[in-house]
């Protein structure tokens, strides 16, 4: 068995170390003896989404976003939407999360349309929401996820899209409704940098399980020694719990 990961726009959406998520997924497969390939698909490349088992899209600088949107709205939009409807796991972070949604409206009313693969809208604000934060993950029975958020967009979920969980510390989607992230089919969209997956290994394994079960529905991932991962997780969980209490 080989798991094929598609890393979308790695050369443009490459802020805040989000590519560490791809490293993490790859290593956690290799350590279990499962082979893994990563294809980088960027501007000008044609996307054949059915080739892949798992997708990753990160956040980037505003400057290059124009270059990207023209390209994304071509052939890639239909491919991405079809893959999502088909149940392909999709990890989207920050800018990548917003891009999967319907649009981004700036605080002074200018609207930038995105691909509408998931029903979420983002409204820009002058003030950024920055800092370490923590939220629950419903798919993990309410376990805590730790990360770092840095966004001025406030994201609101439409019908049919659920949040990942509740904000325990920090702002989350919009700093108002107390929720973080978006879940639709096997899309896992979040504002969390940090990098997210290495210090939340259960989230990494959740995504891998979704990817593998599309091929082998009864597959169970063998456990790994996550001592270092758990140290990093627990350090931040404790630190943020102190802040809140």
């Amino acid at each position: 068995m080989e798991i094929r990961i598609c890393h979308l726009y790695p050369d443009i959406l490459n802020l805040y170390g989000d590519r560490g998520n791809v490293t993490c997924l790859k290593k956690r497969l290799e350590w279990r003896g499962i082979s893994c390939s990563v294809d980088e698909v960027s501007v000008g490349d044609s996307l054949q989404a059915s080739k892949y088992d798992l997708f990753f899209i990160g956040g980037g600088q505003d400057f290059e976003q124009g270059v990207l949107l023209d390209d994304l709205k071509g052939q890639k939009t239909a491919e991405i939407k079809a893959a999502i409807e088909d149940g392909a796991p999709f990890l989207a972070i920050c800018g990548g999360y917003q891009i999967l949604g319907n649009y981004y409206r700036t605080w002074d009313g200018q609207q930038c349309d995105f691909i509408g693969a998931i029903d979420v809208d983002t409204i820009g604000q002058k003030e950024r929401m920055i800092g370490n934060y923590m939220f629950t993950c419903d798919d993990l029975g309410g376990e805590a996820v730790v990360g770092f958020e840095n966004h001025s967009g406030r994201t609101y979920l439409g019908s049919g899209v659920k949040p990942i969980g509740k904000v325990l510390s920090g702002h989350g989607n919009n700093g108002e409704d107390g929720f973080e992230g978006a879940r639709y089919k096997n899309v896992f969209a979040t504002y969390s940098h940090g990098c997210l997956l290495p210090k939340n290994p259960k989230v990494a394994d959740l995504l891998l399980t979704w990817a593998i079960r599309r091929k082998n529905p009864s597959f169970e991932l063998p456990p790994l020694d996550d001592a270092l991962e758990n140290n990093a997780h627990e350090y931040m969980q404790k630190r943020l719990s102190k802040v809140e209490s």
């Binding site: 050369d11 443009i12 490459n14 802020l15 805040y16 170390g17 989000d18 590519r19 560490g20 490293t23 993490c24 290593k27 501007v43 600088q61 505003d62 400057f63 290059e64 124009g66 270059v67 920055i130 800092g131 370490n132 770092f148 840095n150 940098h193 940090g194 990098c195 290495p198 210090k199 270092l228 991962e229 140290n231 990093a232 350090y235």
Partner: protein, 458 residues
């Protein structure tokens, strides 16, 4: 004489003297006091002082120390800011303490100021800079500075306050070189005409798309990061020909680099007193600043072999059976350059990272995942061990695990005292990469434990 100015200067001097009596190296607070008393104090005390400003993301401090040596060797009477006092308050304090309390005028005709890139637009309103050096622009502490195009805009605004200044711009940095387009200033480009490393780390480019038309650049060569010989196939924007250029890298080892620098077509052999390709750029920008100031060029080149940097820039501490070198890191670009240098080591090396996430470090540690620590795996047995420390030591340990470093080589030691005991209880040279506040804590520990002098005594 102006009473308010005098009072501000007096209070600034008192505060600084008091802080030092208390054993603190406070660099910003005295300036804040002065600014509170007299908000335009900097403009008053900096009047008639000819100022050289060094700004940009990486290499500000090292470049400033090089220029300092060159100015001193050329016999100029000047003062400079040190110890990272590079915000408006720190710069104000330096000017104030170097001014006469009663007349309110500066005691020196020249000043050399290292300026934080975000603070530059405020500082440049008040000082009459004759020369501005922009070293480079990389992504840095995104939680504080925002994205790199934002920093570029801030520097452009700062320069608009200084139309008379000669700009020394890095020709190899497409972002920095673009500053010349809208500025009426006289411009002097510096750059490196040749690749520096045989093998480089894998890096993310911070500026892959044309700053003017957003098409992808084509590169004839890359020195590191997004620096090199770029050109845009769409609009024709390209690397300008530098008037001050490194034409050949003759040798580069763990102690120094030897290069040829051409200034107006005349070649000089320069021995640069610090290792690493990024210091070749710093030396080149120093030569450009020297030319812009009209200094004697052979003297400037000579200064590059004698200057001392210290304060966490390849600073060396002989301890026990080994020597410890401290290299401040703060962003992926700088960290990758240290790895470029380290991974080419010819003997065994012990490597340490101290990662903090306080405000001055950048509160977001995500950037460690943009650094190609995987490159360290190529060192094999030459890498004897990796120690991680600092507030976010656990994140750093995790980064090394996923970089593929064998787990038995990764040691977590959060206590600096124990850390120093362990890393100096062996003979391989120790390279410590701390973030800013980790460096302050670590230097404090080292100076107390082994008797090295405090930085503000220098």
């Amino acid at each position: 004489m102006n009473l308010r100015t005098s009072f501000a200067i007096l209070m600034c001097k008192w505060c600084r003297a008091l802080l030092r009596k208390l054993g603190r190296g406070g660099t910003d607070f005295p300036g804040k006091v002065a600014l509170k008393i007299c908000p335009d104090i900097l403009g008053r005390v900096a009047k008639n002082v000819k100022v050289v400003i060094v700004t940009g993301t990486n290499g500000k401090t090292t470049t400033s120390r090089m220029v300092e040596q060159a100015m001193r060797d050329n016999g100029l009477s000047f003062f400079c800011n040190k110890s990272g006092a590079n915000l408006l308050s720190g710069v104000t304090a330096e000017f104030a303490v170097n001014s006469s309390t009663w007349s309110g005028t500066c005691k020196y005709p020249y000043a050399l100021i290292e300026s934080d890139e975000a603070a530059f637009k405020a500082i440049s309103k008040y000082v009459d800079a004759k020369v501005v050096v922009v070293t480079n622009l990389f992504r840095d502490q995104l939680d504080r500075y925002g994205e790199v195009s934002h920093t570029l805009e801030n520097i452009k605004i700062g320069i608009s306050h200084l139309p008379q200044a000669t700009l020394c711009l890095n020709a190899d940095d497409s972002l920095v070189a673009s500053i010349a387009q809208d500025a009426p200033n006289q411009v002097l480009y510096f750059g490196v005409n040749t690749p520096i490393y045989k093998e480089r780390v894998k890096e993310v480019s911070d500026a892959p798309y044309c700053v003017r038309c957003k098409h992808r650049y084509v590169y004839d060569y890359v020195t590191y990061g997004h620096l090199g010989g770029y050109r845009c196939p769409n609009c024709g924007y390209h690397r300008p020909t530098p008037q001050v250029a490194v034409t050949e890298v003759i040798s580069s080892d763990a102690e120094q680099s030897v290069v040829n620098i051409a200034v107006d077509g005349k070649e000089y052999r320069a021995v640069i007193n610090l290792p690493g390709g990024y210091n070749i750029y710093n030396a080149c920008s120093c030569a450009a600043a020297g030319k812009a100031m009209g200094l004697d060029m052979p003297t400037v080149i000579e200064s590059l072999s004698t200057f001392e940097c210290g304060f966490g820039r390849m600073e060396k501490f002989p301890i026990g059976k080994t020597s410890v070198r401290m290299i401040l890191v703060k962003n992926p670009a700088g960290c990758n350059q240290v790895l470029n240098f380290l991974s080419n080591a010819s003997g065994p090396v012990l490597f340490t990272v101290c990662l903090n996430d306080r405000d001055a470090d950048g509160t977001d540690v995500s950037w460690i995942w943009d650094v190609d620590f995987e490159k360290l795996c190529d060192m094999g047995d030459l890498l004897t061990a990796i120690y991680v420390s600092g507030v976010r030591a656990d994140d750093m340990a995790l980064r090394f695990k996923y970089a593929g470093i064998p787990l038995e080589k990764i040691h977590v030691e959060k206590d600096y005292g124990k850390l120093m005991d362990e890393v100096t209880d062996q003979e391989a040279p120790v390279y410590i990469m701390p973030t800013y506040t980790a460096m302050l804590d670590l230097r404090d520990k080292i100076s107390k434990k082994y008797g090295f002098e405090e930085f503000w005594e220098k």
